[in-house]
Amino acid sequence: MKPAPFTYHRATSVEDAIAQLSDPDAMARPLAGGQSLVPMLNLRLAPVGRLVDLGRIDALKHAEDQGASIRYGALLTHAAFEDHRVPDGSNGLMPYIGGQIAYRAVRTRGTIGGAIALADPAADWLTTVVALEGEIAIAGAKGRRTVAAADFVIGPYMTALDEGEIIEAIIVPRRPAGERWGHYKATRKTGEYADSMAIALNDASSRKVRLVIGATEGAPLVMVKTAASCAQGASREQVAAVLHEELAASGRDFSPVKLHLHRTTALRALQQAGLS
């Protein structure tokens, strides 16, 4: 479990990193917190010719309160959220999520941008920023662009990032002050990746409900119909029936067990958000 040879470049700026990553012959990959990439290197599962370490780019480590939204630098660690070292506009959801990813040792190194860029379907931040209707700010050789979080993930470990592009920031809109959130995650044991996770948002004043289910073998599922039935005040049984139908119609090939599990986490998240 030792990595194959690679060259190492410590990037000094976003531009420097992009230049290093844009060489098509280098098999270059960016290194953020390294909590997934380094084990993959050691297992020789990720062919890497050049490792571009983003860890010293200070510009990626700041959070900026922009009023209607908060812009989080991609290199902010899970612990930075857990410890309330960055502003929060999610009524406490993001600090809570930051505090229950893996173990504290992982949280002090792992980053929000790194987790989203890897796009492991079970990653906590992916489901969270989709639920919060966030955006991903991307920088590359051709310039900068912004993609809605819900469109960023294309499939398991597949994203809208092009060759040579990196995530610069995650922009999360400030949620309504009265909105309640619910979260439920099923894991094999403490600290493991989710087998299913769900986040529900309930803004009673505007009768808006949002429900997102993660760890679904692809992009997180935004459960529009289930959320609508909740918003209309449907009974728990009615909501469960709509949820079941919507999951079955999602196009994902869920086993009966996975279907049962996703239904459980979704209903519990809704309940925690004060619904049904």
């Binding site: 040879p5 084990p39 099923a186 599990l261």
Partner: protein
């Protein structure tokens, strides 16, 4: 209990909870493991291992640049393969070579040795080699292996069965006729790994001055490794020194002679170069000897009250590609079938034990060998019998147990249970877990909707078995005894040279406590040396819950003889009668006069003129010890636990876990308790988390800690341990072994508790690990079956 405890905490002898002497170096990071040792000129090794489960090796291409850094079977063709044959009739032998050259028989099988200055460079070389296989269909499962037209793991075998044995005690037909209820059960226990904190490791180099090969290995039995390694290398044992330095946990997988040990030693000899291999976690999970993988077909015949009249059992074990030395492939199934009736008085018992070969890593011993499976089988069956007669499992369990007045008791499998009160132990566990309170809580229901379940499981643990037992099992080596050389230094300190190997058991402390018991020497003045074939007398090592009984007995015998000599010399120095003197606190006392052991040792070593007439100089005794009966001292326990099962996710939480156990006289109750808790933690891994499934190509599906889960601090409950102490009549001080016991019952007790919880859903689990996914699968299947 209070009076008993105060007796234990007095002094430092047998029964005192003395703090562990060896922990200072471990806690200060001063332990020395194979990976810490530096030898000038040493190269690091990465093995080229088979990526396929079953395939003929047509060629292996090595890039030109690495030609002199890659070595094959032909380069060490002076080695003999490792052959572990059971004396049981019809056992099919397998040749387990240091490196395989004809065909690969499991993913991880050794093909070549790559050497380089660093491990990373050695891995680069291994990954640059190109292997051309003619792939063969994989024998990846017990059912596949048993098909008549199955491909053969070993080409010259008639089928894929290592051995099938039978036990037939009593008249089964009569029992079938008499039984009011017949209860059947099919069970599966998953395959997993040992997961010691330190993996295996080997370092070999030649000592020119002594003209001997020196092999450091992370092993549980260095002396025995020397014997088999010398034989396989074709050299004399007098030219081979095997050292087990600090060993970071063993649990059984380090209690085999491994082809890696042979390969490294052989190539080091051939090249005359120091070589080291350190197992990484992936190699450990994929290619170290695996644990468990049992299947059971059981049938109990009982009367209307649940009294079990007879038992039929078929045990099938997947022993993987090769028979491991010295245990042989037959051990797991044989032990399971051989101890199946456990603490119960079941007069009629018929069993078949079948061991099959597959294209998987060989199966070896692991904490609780065979007995975890046997306990899982009989204890889930006892619960099923109780349900069939509509009675409390706890009552049926206790009523079926061997009564204390029946001790010593001969079981249906001819085991001789030496002592104890099994029903009392079960009752104490039932009381401690608050049986009535849990039943009341179940009736109330939980606010969060989770289902509460209560489980119990009991077992007997044969420990410290000697000559008779190992001869009966037909092994190549009979582990009948342990030695101890107790040697004073001229300045009055005591060094104990022993043949066991301490890798977490606290033996550097507990053996010193035995010396204190015999000699009254402070524990701080006693040093325990072990793990080096050139330092200690030949001994068998540490496994099978034997070291405290066996080496403790040997230390006792040696120190008792030393005590007599010290008394004679001390009495002479004090001008007193020998029978008037006593030994305490490192001194010989008569009345209020005393001489120190320093003065005694100085007389013995440096001033023979001070000795009594006729007394030999020097102060050392070499002793060997065998228990009075070599059929084993039987520890026993009842575990009881309370779980909460979440029917929405399949998740199981352990709410309470109680162990009431009896391991005879405890040398150090603090260490005993920690060993029990550690064993329970590992058993919970078997019960709920640990598994290496294989796909139909024979590929292991768990090869890192991402896929292979072990219980962590949040999964292991605060285990409450209750002690009973019934001394064994056969051993010194009445000690019984207990190192494995904690790991035996958890699969049984947890599954019983889960099934108790799932009763309202009419769902049962019969497989370990009982993962959330498996539990949910059963719940969903039952729901769908009920749907109109």
């Amino acid at each position: 209990m209070g009076a008993e405890l105060s007796r234990h905490t007095e002094g430092q002898g047998v029964g005192a909870s003395v703090r562990r002497k060896e922990d200072r170096r471990y806690l200060n990071g001063e332990g020395e493991y194979v990976a810490d040792i530096q030898v000038p000129g040493m190269a690091e090794v990465a093995f080229l291992r088979s990526p396929v489960a079953h395939g003929k090796i047509k060629s292996i291409e090595v890039p030109e640049a690495y030609r002199d850094q890659v070595f094959f079977a032909a380069d060490i063709n002076f080695t003999k393969p490792i052959v572990a044959v059971s004396a049981a009739k019809g056992f099919k032998a397998s040749d387990y070579p240091a490196l395989t050259s004809d065909k690969a028989r499991f993913v991880g099988d050794l093909l070549a040795i790559c050497i380089a200055p660093t491990r990373a460079e050695a891995e680069d070389i291994a990954s640059a080699c190109v292997i051309d296989f003619e792939e063969l269909p994989a024998v990846w499962d017990i059912e596949v292996a048993r098909k008549p037209d199955a491909p053969r793991v070993h080409d010259h075998w008639a089928d894929n069965v290592y051995i099938e044995t039978r036990i037939q005690t009593g008249d089964l037909d009569a029992v079938r006729k008499a039984a009011a209820v017949t209860v059947r059960k099919s069970l599966r226990m998953g395959r997993h790994a040992g997961v010691s904190m330190e993996g295996r490791g080997v370092l070999a180099h030649y000592d020119r001055r002594l003209d001997e090969l020196v092999v450091h290995s992370s092993t549980q039995f260095p002396h025995v490794v020397r014997t088999i390694m010398a034989e396989c290398l074709g050299i004399s044992e007098s030219k081979l020194r095997v050292i087990a330095p600090d060993v970071g946990g063993g649990f059984g997988p380090k209690n085999n002679f491994h082809p890696e040990e042979l390969a490294i030693a052989a190539l080091s000899m051939k090249l005359n170069r120091p070589l080291r291999w350190v197992e990484d976690r992936r190699e450990h999970l994929v290619a170290s000897p695996h644990a468990r993988e049992h299947r059971y077909e059981l049938c109990a015949y009982a009367d209307a009250k649940g009294r079990i009249l007879g038992l039929e059992a078929e045990v099938v074990v997947d022993a993987g590609a090769y028979s491991v030395w010295p245990w042989t492939a037959s051990m797991e199934a044989g032990m399971s079938a051989g101890i199946m009736t456990g603490p119960y008085d079941i007069p009629v018992y018929h069993a078949r034990a079948i061991t099959v070969a597959t294209n998987k890593s060989p199966l070896g011993p692991y904490r609780g060998v065979g007995r975890s499976g046997a306990c899982f089988a009989i204890e889930t069956l006892v619960d099923a019998v109780a349900r069939a007669v509509n009675r409390e499992p706890a009552d049926v369990r206790i009523e079926n147990m061997v009564r204390p007045e029946a001790m010593p008791y001969q079981s249906a499998t001819h085991k001789l249970y030496d002592s104890g009160d099994y029903p009392e132990c079960a009752k104490r566990a039932r009381e401690a877990v608050d049986f009535a309170g849990v039943r009341a809580r179940q009736a109330r229901g939980e606010p969060d909707g989770r289902l509460i379940g209560l489980g119990m499981a009991s077992y007997t643990e044969q420990s410290a078995h000697g000559t008779a037992e190992w001869v009966a099992r037909g092994l190549p080596v009979v582990f009948g005894y342990e030695p101890a050389l107790a040697r004073f230094t001229p300045d009055g300190k005591l060094i104990l040279f022993v043949g066991i190997q301490n890798h977490g058991q606290g033996l550097e402390t507990t053996l010193a406590q035995v010396a204190n018991q015999e000699l009254g020497i402070p524990v701080a003045d006693v040093i325990v040396r072990h793990g080096d074939s050139s330092v200690s007398p030949y001994g068998m090592g540490t496994f099978a819950s034997r070291s405290m009984t066996m080496a403790g007995g040997a230390v006792s015998v040696a120190c008792a003889a030393l005590a007599e000599k010290i008394k004679r010399i001390g009495a002479h120095l004090l001008q007193a009668q020998v029978d008037a003197v006593t030994l305490a606190n490192g001194r010989v006392h008569v009345g209020d006069q005393s001489v120190s052991f320093v003065e005694v040792a100085q007389a013995a070593f440096l001033h023979p003129e001070r000795l009594p007439v006729g007394e030999d100089p020097a102060l050392e005794v070499n002793a060997v010890y065998q228990p009075g009966r070599s059929t084993g001292a039987f520890s026993y326990a009842t575990h009881a636990c309370v779980v909460a099962v979440d029917a929405g996710t399949g998740h199981v939480e352990i709410l309470d876990y109680v162990v009431c156990h009896d391991c005879g006289t405890m040398v150090n109750p603090m260490i005993v308790e920690a060993q029990v808790v550690g064993g329970v933690a590992q058993g919970l891994g078997t019960a709920l988390y640990e598994e290496i499934p294989y796909d139909e190509n024979g590929q292991p599906l768990a090869s890192t800690f991402l896929d292979y889960t072990i219980p962590g601090p949040t999964e292991v409950p605060d285990v409450r341990v209750l002690h009973m102490e019934t001394p064994s009549p056969h051993t010194r001080f009445g000690i019984k072994g207990m190192g494995e016991g904690g790991a035996i019952a958890p699969p049984a007790v947890v599954i019983n508790a889960i099934n108790d919880a799932l009763r309202p859903l009419k769902v049962e689990i019969g497989e370990t690990p009982a993962t959330a996914e498996r539990i949910l699968h059963e719940i969903v299947a039952a729901q769908e079956a009920r749907r109109p």
